[in-house]
């Protein structure tokens, strides 16, 4: 009889163990998906992934820090399967923190058809992304170009004075990605270019 009791207790224990492990399983699966927004929040706070704000930010009125110069480089890249060309007028400028600066970029559609594309920015070193404010940027929305059409678009930005002193060079990379017309509808839904006059 002792072994029968042992057996019943074992079966009850198995049931309990299985339920507990299933709860942990479900929790970890949910956790994996929860990591996606958590990662974004974490990166927004720390600027770790070199993403800049997707919206226009107002200029911070501050005295220009004339004591140091920062080099800002611009790199543009195309994308496989997208017959567009993106060029920047000035590949490299030197500016003082706090200063407002304007750079022009030229988009050209070398393809045969009207297409949509978007230039996605990335900042290196990523720590600089928290101190880069974009007042106007073509990267806030998709561009639509007809075959052979050219578009000149400005980037107006400011590096704030609290940029860490060890950062001497900031590189902005713009990569062109094709956008499907259906996706464009979705991303147009929010207000995009407000605040560039602030």
């Amino acid at each position: 009889m002792r072994s029968r009791d042992h057996e019943a207790a074992g079966r009850e224990g198995v049931r309990r163990t299985v339920i507990r492990t299933l709860v942990v399983l479900a929790g970890m699966f949910a956790f994996a998906f929860a990591l996606v927004p958590l990662y974004d929040v974490f990166c927004d706070l720390t600027g770790l992934n070199g993403k800049t704000s997707a919206r226009a930010q107002p200029l911070v009125e501050q005295e220009v820090d004339a004591s140091r110069l920062v080099t800002v480089q611009f790199i543009t890249r195309g994308s496989q399967g997208l017959p567009w060309h993106l060029e920047v007028d000035t590949r490299q400028i030197r500016l003082h923190p706090g200063q407002r600066e304007e750079v022009f970029f030229t988009f050209r559609n070398n393809g045969e058809a009207t297409t949509l594309a978007r230039a996605v920015p990335s900042v290196s070193p990523s720590a600089a992304s928290l101190h880069l404010r974009k007042l106007t940027c073509f990267c806030f929305q998709e561009q639509q170009l007809m075959a052979g059409e050219t578009l000149k678009a400005p980037l107006v930005f400011q590096l704030t004075r609290d940029l860490p002193p060890e950062i001497k060079t900031v590189t902005l990379v713009y990569t062109l990605y094709p956008v499907q017309a259906t996706q464009a509808e979705v991303s147009h839904s929010g207000p995009i270019t407000e605040g560039d006059s602030a």
């Binding site: 198995v14 970890m28 994996a32 998906f33 990591l35 994308s79 070193p125």
Partner: protein, 543 residues
């Protein structure tokens, strides 16, 4: 092995046991249906082990395609696209199809025997989790025949290589990985439920053999990280098929996020592949040293410490993605910290042998080779943990040398050691000593010829995953390729050993090895189909 193992059911098995053996009292199905429907832990264990052996040879053939192409510089045998598929499939099959199922098979066979349980806690689930595997891997292998070829993005399947630029077969690859993952999860649930609930009366957790302990901890790791893998590949599936942008920078996602998620799974995963190996070696070394294991409790705590630390080191695989300095330092130090519990283990194995009465039977040979060569892999791991040095080593053959040292002469040798150790229990016969020694020495020489030169080619700058290379790496690669073919061919000897051992050989008594003390040696050799239907009396030993 399959048709002979295990032996005919013993007559006294008609009482239904805790495992709920449905076939008790009925005529057992024969032939193929016997294996398809079995709920017996020993038969399922055998199935796992045979499946793993098959996958080991398939993955091995893929590795030999890679080594044949790299035999000399230039493109000789295969196209670069196919080469990429071979490196990827080799990794996927060896990790998910060979090493992991081999450990699950050993757990199925030995965990119930070592804790005095009649069977696994959930025998039907056990059957299901095994039969998911052949389906998963047939699907995975079939992608090689699909238009655009199979997975070609490395076993780590980094996005966007595995999403935006992936071959069309990638959705099938994801499905097969889902199936293999579900199989691992179900297996882990079963093992946890068995160990926590079906121990012989009187066996406390701290009385369990270390193989059981390491598997308990491994099963918890599986429960914790396999759902994360499932989540990651689900995100990939949605990026590919439903237009989401989890890992797509164009849509606001981040490819680096993929690497964080993957390695959050991936690093515990590499410990899933080594912790049971620690358990096997901790059983074998005391047996053939004829001494108790030195520092039993510290072994348990070290294993747990390694498992916990494994969740805090993942970004050491990503030192070059542009982590901030603080993160590089954090992950560098936590990684180095793992050397402490690992060092405790190696120390304990050596201390167990110290002043022991050592004999060198085949299992002991493999276990000793494990200790030495796993430590070599551990040391190169320490070098890779140094963040600034890793900037140079990253994605070179040095990394390939490192993880092959911990996985081949590490995990694989431990599996071979376990197979030689328990073959008398499985078949009732000792494996042929002469053949096993040939197998051992050819394997040791082959494995070192293959992987040791990779340290040098890696430090000299040879990148991994390339079908062609600069001339200065030619000699190292020539040696590696010769060693690879030697190692591969010598594994055929292992098959021969198994076949001979199943068919006959020197009869083994219940206690097949003189110094073996655990419960599995109290049942006859070969182990009857049903064991411990009434729980054994367990006498705790002083550790």
């Amino acid at each position: 092995m399959a048709s002979h193992l295990p032996p005919k059911p013993t007559p006294q098995h008609s009482t239904a046991t805790a495992g709920g053996m449905a076939e008790a009292g009925h005529a057992r199905p024969r032939g193929l249906m016997r294996w398809l429907l079995t709920t017996n832990h020993k038969e399922i264990g055998t199935l796992y082990l045979l499946f793993s052996l098959t996958m080991f040879f398939i993955g091995g053939i893929f590795a030999l395609v890679v080594r044949a192409e790299l035999f000399q510089p230039g493109l000789q045998l295969v196209k670069p696209e196919f080469f990429n598929q071979m490196t990827t499939m080799h990794g996927l099959i060896m990790v998910f199809g060979a090493i992991m199922p081999a450990f699950v098979g050993l757990a199925n066979w030995m965990v119930p025997l070592q804790i005095g349980a009649p069977d696994m806690a959930l025998p039907r689930l056990n059957n299901f989790s095994f039969w998911l595997l052949p389906v998963a891997f047939l699907l995975l292998l079939s992608t090689l025949l699909m238009p655009g070829g199979g997975p070609n993005f490395g076993w780590t399947f980094y996005a966007p290589l595995s999403t935006t630029y992936a071959p069309p077969s990638t959705s099938f690859f994801i499905l097969s990985l889902h199936l293999a993952g579900i199989s691992s999860i179900l297996g882990a649930i079963n093992i946890i439920a068995t160990i926590l609930n079906l121990r012989a009366p009187g066996m406390r957790l701290m009385d369990m053999p270390l193989f059981v302990w390491t598997w308990l901890i491994t099963a918890f790791l599986l429960i914790a990280v396999m759902p994360v893998l499932a989540g990651v590949i689900t995100m990939m599936l949605m990026d590919i098929n439903f237009g989401t942008s989890f890992f797509n920078a164009a849509g606001g996602g981040d490819p680096v996020l993929f690497q964080h998620l993957f390695w959050f799974f991936g690093h515990p995963e590499v410990y899933i592949m080594i912790l049971p190996a620690f358990g096997i070696v901790s059983a074998i070394i005391p047996t053939f040293s004829r001494k108790r294991l030195f520092g039993y409790a510290s072994m348990v705590y070290a294993t747990a410490a390694i498992a916990i630390l494994s969740f805090m080191v993942w970004a050491h695989h990503m030192f070059i993605v542009g982590l901030p300095l603080v993160a590089e330092l954090f992950f560098m130090y936590t990684t180095m910290l793992i050397a402490v519990p690992t060092g405790v283990k190696v120390f304990n194995w050596v201390a167990t042998m110290f002043r022991g009465s050592i004999s060198f039977e085949p299992p002991m040979l493999f276990a000793l080779a494990f200790v030495v060569q796993f430590t070599v892999g551990g040391f190169s791991g320490l070098m890779l943990a140094i963040a600034p040095a890793d900037f140079q080593y990253h994605d070179t053959y040095f990394v390939v040398a490192h993880f092959h040292y911990v996985l081949v002469p590490g995990a694989l040798f431990a599996i071979l050691a376990g197979a030689y150790y328990w073959l008398p229990k499985w078949t009732g016969h000792y494996p042929s000593v002469r053949l096993s020694q040939w197998h051992f020495w050819l394997s040791v020489i082959g494995v070192n010829l293959t992987f040791f030169p990779m340290h040098f080619s890696g430090l000299a700058g040879m990148p991994r995953r390339i079908p062609d290379y600069a001339l200065q790496f030619a000699d190292f690669n020539l040696v590696s390729s010769l060693g690879g073919f030697m190692f591969g061919a010598s594994q055929l000897l292992f098959v021969l050993v198994i076949i001979k051992c199943v068919r006959g050989g020197e009869k083994a008594p219940a206690k097949a090895w003189e110094g073996a003390e655990d419960l599995e040696w109290s049942v006859p050799s070969p182990a009857p189909l049903h064991t411990f239907e009434t729980p054994p009396t367990f006498q705790p030993r002083e550790h």
